[in-house]
Each structure stands twice: as C-alpha cells, then as structure tokens.
C-alpha cells in the first residue's frame, strides 16, 4: 500500500515538483521579505520653519532609520490626502514659529501624525522619535542656547494616532481578515471547477458541444460571486456586532471594491484550473496563492516595511489592493479619490488574468 502510494505520487510530476519547489520558494521569499520591525517607512514632511535646529530634527528622525522622507506636501490638506491614501505612514509637521518659540524657551511642538490602521508599523518608529530628537539637539544647544540643554524636554513631541487612536490591532485585523478569507475560499472554489470536470470525465463531453471558452468561464464564476457576497455580509455583520467595526466610508464603494476583488479571485482560481491537470495540483496552486496573500499583502506585516522587490510582488496580489480599499473605507472613511488607484489595479488584474484564462483554455483535447 505504501509502495503504491509512493509510486503514484512519483507519477504526478507536477505535484512532486510543487512539493519541493514551493516550500523552498516560500522560505526564501518570506524569509527575506518579512520584517516585523519595518524601517524606512515613507514619510511626508510639512516644514514651515527652516533653521539649523529644524534641520537637526529632520535629520535625527531620518537617522532613526524608521522614516524616509518621500513627500514634501505644500499644505496640511495635501498631507492628509497622502495619509488617507496610504502613500505615507507618517506626516511630520514643524510649525512656522517653532524655532522662535524654542529659543524663547516656550513650548515648541513637533507633530507626528501616524496612520495607525496598522498599529504594529507605527509603534517602534514613534518610540524612537523622541529620544532621537533630544539627543541630536543636545549637540546644537551651545552658546546662548546652552540653558535649553538642562530642560528635560525642550521639544514637545505630539503624536497623533489617526484612524485608530487606541492602537487596537483588532481594528486592523478585521478588515484584513475579510481579504484573506475571500482569497482563500474564492480562489479554491474555481480552481477546482475545471479540473473536476476533467477528473469526472465530463470535460470531453463538454468540449464536444459548441460552448465558447468565455461561456465556460462565466458559467464557472458567476454562481460563486453570490457565495462571496454572502460571505462578505456574514463577516461584516459579525465584525460589526462583536468588534464594533463598521464601514465608515461609502457603502457603494465598498460593494464595488468587494465585487471586483471577488471576481478577480475567482478569475485567478479559474486560470489555475486551466493550467493544472488534476484537483490535487489545483489545490496546491491555490495554497501557493494564499500564503503571499496573507504575508505580503500587508495583512500580517506592514507592507511598507518590506524590501522594494517584495512590495512589487505584493502589488500583483489582489489582496493587497483590497486590503487598502477595505482599511480605507472601514477605518479611514476614505473617498473615491484615495482608493481609485486600488480599484483600477483590481480591474487590471481581473482583465489580465481573464485573458490568460481564455487563451489557456483549450477547445480541443490536444
């Protein structure tokens, strides 16, 4: 019995290859890509005061290694938009009267606004910011400024955790779970669809009839959209009742985003089923799709904390874009403007995957 199973396993070349290649690929991928203590997070700086001291502060923040100044917005509104769309993790604001107040010995404030939808990404950088600023300034406080050195905290660092003031991970995880659960079920369902026909021997009969590839694909996908919709409603209801997380933004946008995401996942599953030969292979391929959707999409680990190549990889995944849409809508109350790029990305993924599926679908048994 054991010998028979081993021989059968060896016959299925693709499965055999997958068993060895996938774990190695994933080890390498996730080993290098994931960083629970993310550095070089994109930061916008709104600097209304240019002086020796403010320059020291900015470079001190950069030197912590956690912040990378990528944007210089001209106004507060612009800075807020960057935060809302998730393009930056932090906005550092230095008011125009900062140096004057500092020199006079008055309360001088530096503001750091954080996108706290992901509390993990924000915790360490914020903890490091205060000490770094004070340490750096100590060197600047010479001559007439020397007395400031003795003040415990010359600079008043004001931290604002936006969208999730209490820093609860739950608020971040619930919307993320929605993306993960949908990826898991939707990809799997259609991945088995065509391979099942092949294994049951109904494929030959189906091919002998005049059905167009697009008809088969639509037929395989549409029923599951309804199942996905039910799933979404259940998850939303539970998360609202138990965790008090509801949709803050537009419900229409939420439905649009979810519908796109579900369809994209179903199309990916369908593509998998046209590329694999049996249900076992299709299952493995869907798992291969699922792990990155959990690990690289920003669900488990901060997206901006990953190396650039891993971020590019993450951008290919529908889950990444959906995660941003859902977090935007559920936590930030984002509008169409700040999530339109993500919607477009989902649409693009859907189109590309569909084209691959249609071109891979064989109308003959060759």
């Amino acid at each position: 019995m054991i010998a028979k199973e081993v021989v059968q396993l060896r016959r299925d070349r693709l499965t055999f290859a997958m068993m060895f290649v996938l774990p190695i690929a994933q080890l390498l991928l996730f080993g290098y890509a994931i960083d629970a203590d993310p550095h070089r997070l994109p930061t916008a700086i709104l600097q209304a005061d240019q002086s020796q001291i403010t320059r020291t502060i900015v470079s001190a923040l950069a030197n912590t290694g956690y912040m990378r100044f990528t944007h210089r917005p001209a106004s507060e509104a612009e800075a807020n938009a960057l935060l809302e769309s998730g393009e930056v993790q932090f906005v550092v604001t230095i008011p125009s009267d900062f140096t004057r107040r500092l020199v006079r010995g008055e309360r001088a404030q530096v503001l750091i606004d954080t996108d706290a939808t992901d509390p993990m990404a924000a915790a360490n950088p914020l903890a490091a910011a205060g000490p770094a600023i004070n340490q750096a300034l100590a060197r600047d406080f010479v001559g007439p400024l020397a007395p400031l050195r003795d003040k415990a905290e010359a600079v008043d660092l004001v931290l604002q955790r936006r969208y999730n003031p209490e820093g609860k991970s739950r608020l971040n995880i619930v919307p993320g779970l929605l993306a993960v659960i949908l990826t898991m079920t939707m990809v799997m369902m259609t991945a088995l669809a065509v391979t099942r026909e092949r294994e049951r021997g109904t494929m030959e009969n189906l091919l002998a009839m005049p059905v167009r590839p697009i008809e088969v694909m639509i037929g395989k996908i549409v029923p599951y959209i309804a199942i996905g919709a039910v799933q979404v409603m259940v998850i939303l209801l539970v998360s609202w009742l138990l965790f008090g997380v509801g949709v803050q933004g537009s419900l229409t946008l939420f439905c649009l985003g979810t519908a796109l995401f579900i369809t994209a996942n179903l199309a990916i599953g369908y593509t998998i089923s046209t590329l694999t030969q049996n249900q076992l292979q299709a299952m493995q391929a869907s798992f291969f799709m699922m792990l990155p959707s959990i690990l690289l999409s920003g669900f488990m680990f901060p997206f901006r904390g990953m190396p650039q190549w891993a971020q590019w990889l993450g951008e290919i995944l529908p889950a990444t874009h959906f995660m941003r849409i859902v977090r935007g809508l559920m936590l930030k109350g984002a509008g169409f403007g700040s999530i339109s790029a993500e919607l477009a990305a989902l649409l693009a993924i859907l189109l590309i995957v569909s084209i691959v599926a249609i071109s891979r679908y064989r109308v003959t048994l060759d």
Binding site: R200, G201, T202, E204, N205, L206, L207, A208, M209, P210, V211, V363, T364, L365, D366
Partner: protein, 308 residues
C-alpha cells in the same frame, strides 16, 4: 450521393508514437458504419478528430461539408458525440442533464424537446432521479438521448454498448436504426461482432491503419480466408493443438465445434490433415466469420508493424 464524412490521410501523433496513420474514410449520408479494431488501434482518436476534439497532425477532411479544422464549431453544432466514458453529470437529474445540453445548443422549445426525449427513452417517470443512480444500460441510453437532442446530422458513438446487457443493447441498436432511417449518419465503434453485422458497412482499423472496408458480406468475400468447421466428440479440444500450426491464423472452439481458418487453402488442409482421418469428427468447409477475418487482419497488421 452526399458524403457525411469524407476524410483523407488523417495522421495523429502523440510524441513519437503515430496513433493514426494516413487514415481515409468516407461515409454516405444515412448509413450506419461500424468502426472496428483491436483496443488501442486509434478508433477513439479518429472519432475525436472527426468531431473536432483533436486537431489532426496531417491530412484533410470534410465533415457534413465543413472543413475538419477550420469549421470546427459548425461541425460541433450538427454532430452528436457520445463518449466512451459516461460524460454527463452524475449529480444532476436526468431532466437537468438534458436541459443543460439543450441550453448549450441554444435550442428553442426546450421543455417540449426534453419531454419528448424523456418519453422516447421511457424515463419520463424517473426524470427527477440523479443520473448517477442509473444502471449502465440506462446511462448509455440517456447519453444517446443527450447526443440527439439537438437533432444532429451525424452521430459518433464510441463503444456505446460496452458492458451493457443484450436486451438493452438491442434496444440501443433499434434506436440507432431509427435515427439512420431519419437520414442521420452514424459512425459507431464496437467490439461486438453481432453489432458489426447490424451495421450497413464496416471499417476495420488496426494500429492506426484502415485494414478493411465495405459491407459485412463484401469483407467476408474479399478476405480470401478459408475456414473449416469440425463437429463431433472432442472436436473443441483440437483448438489448442491447431492454434500454432503452420497455415492456421485462428482456431477456436465454439461450444462443441471447432472453427479453423487460414489464408491459404493448401496450407490449411495440410494443417488439419492429421485430424481429418478421425472417423468421429465430421469436417466441413464453411464461410469465415467476421471474427475470423478480424483476427486474421489483426495479425497481418501486427506483421506490418514489425516489418516497419
């Protein structure tokens, strides 16, 4: 005379292996053509090429006047192909299966057609049973009903009666003759000799090559095979001894009688000479059966393969 199937020099290769080699066949409209040949001789592959499921690697052909490769969809619309393995959905009911097929072909008056088809099958009372619960014979009849629902002009049946009991087989063949009477052309592969004899004409394929073609009588005539039948006590036991004798292609026991045949009269006579003197046996020359001829053709084809 209209040819429903007209293919020339079809070739199909899987890797290095040539499964179908320069196969040509034409069938007149309204005829039932029996497609015979040993297992693995390329029957299924040929049927699949004719109905557009496989692309030939060589050769040309027309099916119902449409080009085999370029007008695949037109052929599919007018052809009913019954797969060797039950190809309908076991987890759908009989009615649901027929309705599905009808919708794929975009048929009008769907409910009416399905009702008619169920009546003809005699399955109207069981229409809400799952197809998977049907016995082998009924599954085959359901598959045939699904094949003809869209009123095709050509039926391709791949061993439709394998594993079906004689009564169901007879019913199945009566239906096939009914369709032929309506002008439908039928190409049916089978291993049963009695079924071969129920066909208007026969095509015999072995190792991818067409070996014989014509009506059953023509094939018997053209074979040039000589056969003898021996009756009497112990005649059937001689089969084992004669089987490997020179000049004998086949020796088989049919009940208590012995059936021997070979391509050359003198050689065959020489082979049976030692036993002809036995007074308890009575020898008679007979007409070779189709089975004799096919076994003979098969060994001839194998020789060709070995030579090549």
């Amino acid at each position: 005379m209209t040819l429903a199937v007209d293919v020339h020099d079809l070739v199909k290769r899987y890797g290095k292996r040539t499964v179908v080699d320069r196969f040509s066949l034409s069938i007149e409209q309204g005829r039932i053509c029996g497609f015979l040949g040993p297992n693995g001789s390329g029957k299924t592959t040929t049927l699949r090429m004719i109905c557009g499921l496989l692309t030939p690697d060589g050769g040309t052909g027309r099916c119902l006047g449409h080009d085999l490769v370029r007008e695949r969809d037109a052929i599919k619309r007018q052809t009913g192909y019954m797969t060797q393995r039950f190809g309908l959905y076991e987890d759908l009911t009989i009615r649901e299966n027929l309705e599905f097929v009808g919708r794929v072909y975009d048929l009008d008056r769907l409910a009416e057609r399905v009702d008619q088809s169920l009546d003809r099958l005699g399955l109207a009372t069981r229409q809400h049973q799952l197809a998977g619960a049907l016995s082998g014979g009924w599954k085959q009849r359901l598959a045939l009903a699904a094949c003809v629902l869209h009123e095709p002009k050509l039926l391709l049946l791949d061993e439709p009666t394998a594993g079906v009991d004689p009564k169901a087989r007879r019913a199945f063949w009566d239906e096939i003759h009914g369709y032929a009477a309506q002008g439908i052309t039928v190409l049916v592969s089978t291993h049963y000799m009695d079924e071969a004899e129920r066909c208007h004409e026969i095509a015999y394929i072995a190792y991818g090559e067409l070996m014989a073609r014509g009506t059953a009588a023509e094939i018997v005539q053209q074979s040039g095979l000589i056969a003898f039948v021996a009756g009497g006590p112990g005649a059937d036991r001689l089969a084992v001894r004669l089987r490997d004798a020179a000049g004998v292609t086949a020796a088989a026991a049919f009940g208590a009688t012995l059936h021997v045949c070979g391509p050359d009269r003198d050689a065959l006579l020489a082979a049976i000479a030692p036993y002809r003197g036995d007074p308890s046996l009575n020898w008679e020359e007979a007409e070779p059966t189709l089975e004799d001829i096919f076994i003979h053709l098969m060994s001839k084809a194998r020789d060709n393969v070995v030579d090549a």
